[in-house]
C-alpha cells in the first residue's frame, strides 16, 4: 500500500454564509463570533486561518469539526452539508493544541483508537496502525504511554492518530504552540512536507504569522469574525488590501501621501512636495486624493545627509538603534511621523547611531497604496 491511501477520502470544504452568534458573557446581548464567512478549500490544499485572538478563527474551525453548531450558513464537505451532523459522523479528524492524547492508553492504542471505534477487522486495524506509526517514526515507542515521550513525539502521535482514519479533512488547532521555538520550526516543516506528500485537505488555525507563511498554500486573514483577505502567503504580504492585513502580516510603515494620477498599475504620488512613481500600486489603490502608502521596513534605506541628492523623499533623525546581527533596526523620527527601518546585512553598509541626521530612501518597487484610513475597505 502506498502513502497516497491516506488521502483516499480527502475532499474539498466549502463554507457558505457561515455565521455564529454567542450569548455575551454578561448575558445581556449577543456576540457575533463568526460573521458571514465564505471560503472554499480545494482538495489537497492547506489553508491557514490567521488572526488575532478572538477573531473567530477557532470558532470557525470548531464549527467545521462539529463541536459548535452554526447559527446559520452551510458547511459542505465534498457536496454534503454537514452543518447539522454530529462531530463523530463527519469523518474528519483534528490535531488539538494540547494534543489531547489519551493518557491511559499506549501510543499504539492512541493511534488505533479511531479504527477500533469504527469496529474494523483486527488485522486491518493492526496493519493501518503500524503503517501510521511507521510513517511518524513512532514504531519503537508504540508500547509507551504519552507521558513517557517528548513533546515533539507527542505531536507526532497526535498527527498519526488523526491521519490513520483517512479523514476527508484534517483540522489543526494551533498544534505547534506548545513546542519551544526550535522544535516548532522543525515540526512545521515536517508537517508541511507530510501534508504535501499525503495530499490531505487541511485547515490550519494559528495566530503565528510566520507559521502561516511557512506552511500554507493559502492564508485567510480574519478579524472580528470576518474574513479580511484570502490569498497565497506572497499575495497577503506583498499586496495587503487593508491597513489591518498589512500590519498583522509582518511589520509596516504607513505614510499619508497624495495621489496625483494613475497610469495602469502605476501611480504618481506626492510626498512633501516631491513627486514619485509607484510602479505597482495594488488593486485597491485610490485614483486621486489622499492615500496611505504601505512601506515595509526592509523597503527603506538610510543614507548620510552628506551626499545629499534631490530625490530623497524623507529626512529625519535616528531615535533608536538596535543591532541584531543579521539586521539593524532603526526608529527614525521624520516630518511624516516615526518610521521603522530594517537594514539587512548591516555590516555591508554604513551604520548610523542614535542622534544622527539621516535621509530615508524608499524602494518604490515594493510599496503599495491603500485608501486613506477613514475610507479603508473593511
Amino acid at each position: 500500500m502506498s502513502e497516497r491511501d491516506f488521502s483516499a477520502r480527502s475532499s474539498n470544504v466549502t463554507l457558505i454564509n457561515l455565521t455564529k452568534r454567542f450569548k455575551s458573557l454578561d448575558g445581556s446581548g449577543e456576540v457575533l463570533a463568526v460573521d458571514d464567512v465564505n471560503l472554499e478549500v480545494k482538495t489537497g490544499e492547506l489553508v491557514t486561518i490567521l488572526g488575532p485572538s478572538g477573531c473567530g478563527k477557532t470558532t470557525t474551525l470548531r464549527m467545521i469539526a462539529g463541536f459548535e453548531y452554526p447559527t446559520s450558513g452551510s458547511i459542505l464537505i465534498g457536496d454534503k452539508d454537514v452543518a447539522k451532523i454530529p462531530p463523530n459522523k463527519r469523518g474528519l479528524s483534528m490535531v488539538f493544541q494540547s494534543y489531547a492524547l489519551f493518557p491511559h492508553l499506549t501510543i499504539y492504542e492512541n493511534v488505533a483508537y479511531g479504527l477500533r471505534v469504527q469496529k474494523l477487522p483486527a488485522n486491518e486495524i493492526r496493519e493501518r496502525t503500524e503503517r501510521a506509526l511507521d510513517l511518524m517514526q513512532l514504531t519503537t515507542m508504540a508500547k509507551r504511554y504519552p507521558s513517557q515521550v517528548s513533546g515533539g513525539q507527542q505531536q507526532r502521535i497526535a498527527l498519526a492518530r488523526a491521519i490513520v482514519i483517512e479523514p476527508s479533512v484534517l483540522l489543526f488547532d494551533e498544534p505547534l504552540s506548545n513546542l519551544d521555538a526550535k522544535l516548532r520550526e522543525y515540526m512545521r516543516d515536517e508537517l508541511r512536507k507530510l501534508q504535501k506528500r499525503l495530499g490531505i485537505t487541511s485547515l490550519y488555525v494559528t495566530h503565528d504569522q510566520s507559521e502561516a507563511m511557512a506552511i500554507s498554500d493559502r492564508v485567510v486573514i480574519m478579524k472580528e469574525g470576518r474574513i479580511r483577505q484570502v490569498g497565497t502567503p506572497r499575495e497577503i504580504y506583498a499586496f495587503p488590501q487593508s491597513r489591518f492585513v498589512a500590519d498583522f502580516m509582518g511589520k509596516a510603515n504607513f505614510l499619508e501621501v497624495e495621489v496625483l494620477g494613475t497610469n495602469g498599475e502605476s501611480a504618481r504620488i506626492d510626498i512633501g512636495g516631491k513627486t514619485f512613481i509607484v510602479p505597482r500600486a495594488g488593486r485597491v489603490r485610490p485614483n486621486s486624493g489622499s492615500a496611505l502608502l504601505v512601506v515595509r521596513p526592509e523597503a527603506l534605506r538610510l543614507i548620510s545627509l552628506a551626499n545629499v541628492e534631490n530625490e530623497i523623499p524623507l529626512k529625519g533623525c535616528v531615535d533608536r538603534f538596535t543591532y541584531f546581527g543579521n539586521i539593524a533596526r532603526y526608529e527614525v523620527a521624520t516630518e511624516n511621523g516615526p518610521l521603522l527601518i530594517e537594514s539587512y546585512n548591516p555590516e555591508a553598509s554604513s551604520i548610523f547611531e542614535e542622534g544622527d541626521n539621516v535621509g530615508v530612501l524608499i524602494d518604490f518597487e515594493s510599496v503599495r497604496l491603500l485608501p486613506p484610513e477613514d475610507k479603508e475597505q473593511q
Partner: protein, 563 residues
C-alpha cells in the same frame, strides 16, 4: 438566551444516550431528594384536615419542647465547630508547616474517625467515664459519675469531626503561596508576626469553612446524642423520638424542618459565599516545596500536642477493642469470646443485610456520582445548574430529615416502598453520591476537554467516549466515591432507623438496641466486626477498581496541563 436554550435542546435530541441519562438523573433526584423534602415542608404547614395552616407550626414553635432541642443543637454545633477547628488547625499546621517526626502516624490517626462505625466513641466514653468507668470508678474512685450530657457529647463529637477540619485546613495551608510568607520574612517580620499578620488571615476562609462543615456534621449527628446525651435533647434525636415514641408525624416533620434550616444555611454559606473568598493562589507555576520550620521552640510543643490528641484517640479506640473481650466491663475483666459468638449468631443477619445493601448501593452511588459529575462539567443541557445544586444538596440535608421525608413520601401509593430493600438502597445511593460527584468534578475540571473531543471526532459516540476515555481517567475519583459510599452505607444510622423493617434490619441499628439494653460489650464486639468488614471491603474494592481500568501510569492528558 433563547438561542442557547434552543441549541442545547437540539444537542440533547441529537444524542439519545445523553437525553436518557439526563432524564434518568432528574427522575432520581426528584423522587429521592426533592419529593421527600417537599413532603416534610408540606406536612409541616398543613393541619389534620390536610388544609394549609401555619397555626399548628406556630403553636409548636412557641413550645419549649421544640425550642429547647433547637437551642441545644445550635449550642453543641457551635462548640464542637470551634473546638474541632482549633484541633484541626493545630494538626494541619503541624503536618504541613513543621518538620517533625511521626507524620505518617499522625495522618493515619486523623483518618480513623472518618471511616469508623458510629457509637464507638460514645461507647468508649461510657467504658472510661461511666458509672463503672475505668477512669472514673477504678482510677478516681468516683461512685456516681454522670457520663451522659453535653460535656461528653462535645468530647465525642470533637474527636469524631476534627478530621474534617484537619482535611479542609490542610488543603488551605498547603496551597497558600509560600512566597507570600517569604516576602513578609524578607521585609523583616518575625515568625510570630508573620503567622499573626499573614498566615492566619490568609487561612480565615479555610477556618470558617471547616467550622461550618463541622457545625453541619454536629447538627445532624444522631448516633452519639442518641446514646450519650442523657437529658440534653438535640433535634435529630428528638425528631426520632417524637415520631417513634409519640407517633407524632407532624411534630417530627417540624423538628426535621428546624434541623434542616440551619444546616442548609451553613452549607450554602460554605459552598457559595466562602468558595468565592478563597485566598488560595493557583498560578500553575510550580511552587517551591513548602519551607518547613525546624525551630525547636515550635516543633516540640506542636509535636507534644499532636501526640496528646493521637494518644487520646488511640485510648478511645483501644478501650472498645478491650471491651469486646471482657466479661462485664468494670466488674469482671476476664477474657471471653462470648460477645463475638453473640455477633456471629444473633447479630449475623443484620450484619449480612448491612453488607448486602451497602454492596448493592455502592456501584449505584459511584456510577451516579461519575455520571452527574460528567454531565454537569462536560455537557450543556437545560437544568444543568439545577442538577448540580440538587445533587449536592444531600450533603447538607441531615439523615434524620431524609429518613422522615422518605417515610412521608414512600408510605403511600404510588410509591409504597417503606421497609423494602429497594428504598434502603436508594437512600444509600442518593445520600452517598456527593463525594463521588465532588471528586469526579474536580478530576474532570483538570482534564483537558479536548481529550474527549479527540475521541468524538475520531468517530466515537458520547457513550463510547464516556466508557473508554472519561471513565478510565476518573478511576481515582470513582474509587474514592465507591469507598466513601460503602463506608457511609455500612455506618449509616439516622436515615435508616426510619426505614428498616423486621425483614431488613441493619447492623448499626442492632448496635443501637444493644445500647438501649446496656449490653455494651456485645456492642463493642459488633463494632469490631464491622471495622473488619469495612477494611476487607475497602481492600476488595481497591482490587476491583484496579482491574477495571487497564494499567498505565495515571498521567494527566499528555502536555495538556501546559496549555
Amino acid at each position: 438566551m433563547r438561542e442557547n436554550t434552543r441549541l442545547s435542546v437540539a444537542h440533547l435530541v441529537r444524542d439519545p444516550v445523553l437525553l436518557f441519562l439526563v432524564i434518568l438523573v432528574f427522575v432520581g433526584l426528584f423522587l429521592f431528594i426533592i419529593l421527600p423534602l417537599g413532603k416534610i415542608f408540606a406536612y409541616s404547614v398543613t393541619n389534620n384536615d390536610g388544609r394549609l395552616s401555619f397555626q399548628a407550626a406556630w403553636d409548636m414553635l412557641k413550645s419549649r419542647s421544640y425550642l429547647e432541642p433547637l437551642k441545644n443543637s445550635m449550642l453543641l454545633g457551635i462548640t464542637t465547630g470551634i473546638l474541632a477547628t482549633i484541633i484541626g488547625y493545630v494538626f494541619a499546621y503541624a503536618l504541613t508547616r513543621v518538620d517533625m517526626p511521626l507524620k505518617g502516624f499522625f495522618k493515619t490517626i486523623a483518618t480513623i474517625p472518618i471511616i469508623s462505625p458510629p457509637f464507638i466513641l460514645s461507647l468508649s466514653m461510657i467504658f472510661l467515664f461511666g458509672r463503672n468507668g475505668l477512669i472514673t470508678r477504678r482510677l478516681l474512685g468516683i461512685e456516681d459519675a454522670n457520663v451522659y450530657g453535653m460535656h461528653s457529647l462535645v468530647v465525642v463529637q470533637t474527636i469524631s469531626f476534627f478530621p474534617i477540619a484537619y482535611l479542609t485546613l490542610t488543603g488551605t495551608l498547603s496551597k497558600l503561596n509560600p512566597a507570600v510568607e517569604d516576602a513578609a520574612l524578607n521585609l523583616g517580620a518575625s515568625k510570630a508576626r508573620i503567622f499573626r499578620t499573614v498566615t492566619l488571615p490568609l487561612s480565615v476562609p479555610g477556618i470558617l469553612s471547616s467550622f461550618l462543615l463541622v457545625f453541619i456534621q454536629s447538627m445532624e449527628d444522631f448516633s452519639n446524642p442518641a446514646v450519650i446525651s442523657g437529658s440534653f435533647s438535640t433535634l435529630a434525636v428528638e425528631a426520632y423520638r417524637t415520631i417513634t415514641g409519640m407517633y407524632d408525624m407532624r411534630g417530627g416533620s417540624l423538628m426535621a424542618l428546624l434541623l434542616l434550616i440551619p444546616t442548609l444555611i451553613a452549607f450554602l454559606l460554605q459552598k457559595y459565599w466562602l468558595s468565592g473568598k478563597s485566598f488560595v493562589t493557583v498560578t500553575g507555576k510550580p511552587t517551591i516545596s513548602q519551607q518547613q520550620s525546624k525551630d525547636p521552640k515550635l516543633v516540640w510543643p506542636l509535636f507534644a500536642l499532636s501526640m496528646l490528641i493521637s494518644l487520646v484517640i488511640l485510648l478511645f479506640y483501644g478501650t472498645v477493642l478491650v471491651g469486646a473481650f471482657v466479661k462485664v466491663w468494670g466488674i469482671n475483666f476476664s477474657f471471653t469470646w462470648a460477645h463475638f459468638k453473640y455477633v456471629m449468631t444473633l447479630g449475623w443477619i443484620p450484619l449480612r443485610n448491612s453488607v448486602v445493601l451497602a454492596l448493592a448501593s455502592t456501584p449505584i452511588a459511584g456510577l451516579l456520582g461519575m455520571i452527574i459529575a460528567f454531565l454537569v462539567v462536560r455537557k450543556e443541557f437545560p437544568g444543568r445548574r439545577a442538577m448540580e445544586f440538587i445533587s449536592m444538596l444531600t450533603f447538607a440535608v441531615p439523615g434524620t430529615v431524609v429518613g422522615i421525608g422518605y417515610i412521608l413520601a414512600f408510605n403511600d401509593k404510588p410509591f409504597m416502598w417503606t421497609g423494602s430493600a429497594f428504598l434502603l438502597i436508594m437512600a444509600f445511593a442518593f445520600r452517598n453520591m456527593p463525594v463521588g460527584i465532588e471528586a469526579g468534578t474536580s478530576t474532570l475540571l483538570q482534564i483537558d476537554r479536548s481529550i474527549e473531543e479527540a475521541s468524538t471526532i475520531l468517530g466515537a459516540t458520547g457513550a463510547v467516549t464516556f466508557r473508554r476515555i472519561s471513565l478510565p481517567m476518573l478511576k481515582q475519583a470513582f474509587f474514592s466515591g465507591l469507598v466513601y459510599s460503602f463506608v457511609r452505607a455500612m455506618t449509616a444510622v439516622s436515615t435508616v432507623i426510619f426505614l428498616i423493617s423486621p425483614r431488613w434490619n441493619l447492623a448499626t441499628i442492632s448496635i443501637f438496641s444493644l445500647f438501649e439494653s446496656s449490653k455494651y460489650s456485645d456492642a463493642a464486639a459488633y463494632i469490631i466486626v464491622m471495622i473488619l468488614f469495612i477494611i476487607v471491603a475497602i481492600g476488595v474494592l481497591n482490587l476491583l477498581v484496579g482491574l477495571l481500568g487497564r494499567g498505565g501510569p495515571s498521567a494527566s492528558g499528555g502536555t495538556s496541563e501546559r496549555a
